[in-house]
């Protein structure tokens, strides 16, 4: 991503954190980021709506990048997931900007997150795929499985679990173990 674009998104994120999405204007973002209105409209022809949408997507990417860094390496993919799900859930609950906007402008934020979601699922699946391939080489994953749809499925349902765990308690390691080795991966794990 180029520098100016990143500066605008960062500025927009700071504005949203302070005032929420409805009250943020292109002028605010220009002042915050030190980028002119004209340049913002050149990079984001859709104006405020496009800036908001891309800022949500940008922060979703950053959230999962940070998570990946924090998790580091694991012995295998199931173990990686068993650590990733509770950590992601905790970080989501501790994400102050997200939680604030969810309280004040939930409908609008949810619509934007949904629009950005398929892109984020793609990025997470791309991150998972080499981990699954490594497990296949180690004989942990069935040899006859096309792993790309598996990575997509696990990314999608992991996102579902961390955003809305519902009846599942992701802080409970026994429960997470059961989900990872059961619903998420039973179809591909050997033995």
């Amino acid at each position: 991503m180029n520098d100016v674009r990143a500066r605008v998104l960062e500025g927009a994120y700071a504005c949203i954190a302070r005032r929420g999405m409805a009250k943020t204007t292109v002028d605010d973002v220009a002042a915050e980021s030190g980028v002119s209105r004209a340049t913002i409209y050149r990079i984001f022809p859709g104006g405020k709506e496009e800036v908001l949408r891309d800022t949500v997507g940008w922060e979703m990417d950053r959230f999962f990048l940070r998570l990946g860094e924090e998790l580091g390496d694991a012995a295998d993919f199931p173990e990686f997931l068993e650590r990733a799900l509770p950590l992601a859930r905790r970080e989501l609950l501790e994400h102050t900007v997200l939680q604030k906007v969810l309280e004040t402008e939930p409908d609008r934020l949810n619509a934007l997150i949904t629009v950005q979601q398929h892109r984020v699922i793609g990025a997470i699946a791309a991150y998972f795929l080499p981990l699954l391939e490594r497990d296949r080489e180690a004989g942990l994953v069935a040899a006859d499985v096309d792993l790309a749809p598996v990575a997509e499925y696990v990314a999608r349902l992991s996102l579902s679990l961390i955003a809305s765990p519902g009846r599942h308690d992701l802080a409970d390691s026994v429960e997470v173990h059961r989900l990872v080795r059961g619903e998420l991966l039973a179809g591909v794990l050997v033995g």
Partner: protein
């Protein structure tokens, strides 16, 4: 104002009329007058039974939830094996949502009106409610606890693959759905614990 309890046929007609109007004009533009006209009732009749448009919409959502859940439970129970029941529930669920004019209109034109109820905290409540409602579809094959767990997982699947944009598989297609579910999902549900 005291509301009168309406005859079932009347409330059903009013709720159905609301869904037709929403499928045609959306939620924001639908008025009580539109609903009354579509139902063949007067405005006064509607207000005798419902406390305004939000109450009508709420009643319609509750009734649709029950109707679709009942249809899914029936679809699952009619099948000879657990695998067939899972496929039937997912395909029927996908078709009910895809073919739902009011829901599809809102997703396309007023997504804010729907998506906020399906994500994060509100999503938790919906998943628990749907999981509980469709669990009986599997009670010939699974223990009660495992039924609820399977219901939860299928509710998640359908929410993610049918309501969100760009799904990689079309669950309204029984062949595609079966191949996907047999490969990725059924092994995990079978491990939940079958009845002896």
């Amino acid at each position: 104002m005291t509301l009168t309890v309406a005859p079932v046929a009347t409330t059903t007609r009013i709720r159905d009329a609301a869904l037709i109007c929403i499928g045609r004009f959306g939620l924001a533009k639908t008025t009580v007058d539109d609903i009354a006209r579509e139902a063949g009732s007067s405005r006064a009749t509607l207000y005798r039974y419902f406390d305004g448009k939000p109450a009508i919409v709420r009643a319609a959502v509750v009734a649709e939830f029950d109707r679709v859940s009942d249809a899914l439970v029936e679809a699952g129970r009619a099948e000879p094996t657990f695998a067939d029941a899972v496929v039937a529930v997912v395909v029927r669920g996908a078709r009910e949502l895809r073919g739902h004019d009011a829901l599809q209109f809102l997703l396309a034109h007023e997504p804010d009106a729907v998506l906020g109820h399906l994500a994060f905290g509100p999503g938790d409540r919906v998943l628990v409610a749907v999981g509980d409602a469709i669990a009986p579809a599997f009670d010939r094959w699974l223990s009660p606890d495992a039924c609820t767990r399977a219901g939860d997982w299928l509710a998640r699947l359908v929410r993610s693959y049918v309501l969100m944009p760009h799904p990689p598989v079309d669950f309204t297609d029984p062949f595609a759905a079966r191949a996907f579910l047999e490969r990725l999902v059924l092994p995990g549900l079978a491990e939940i614990g079958e009845l002896p």
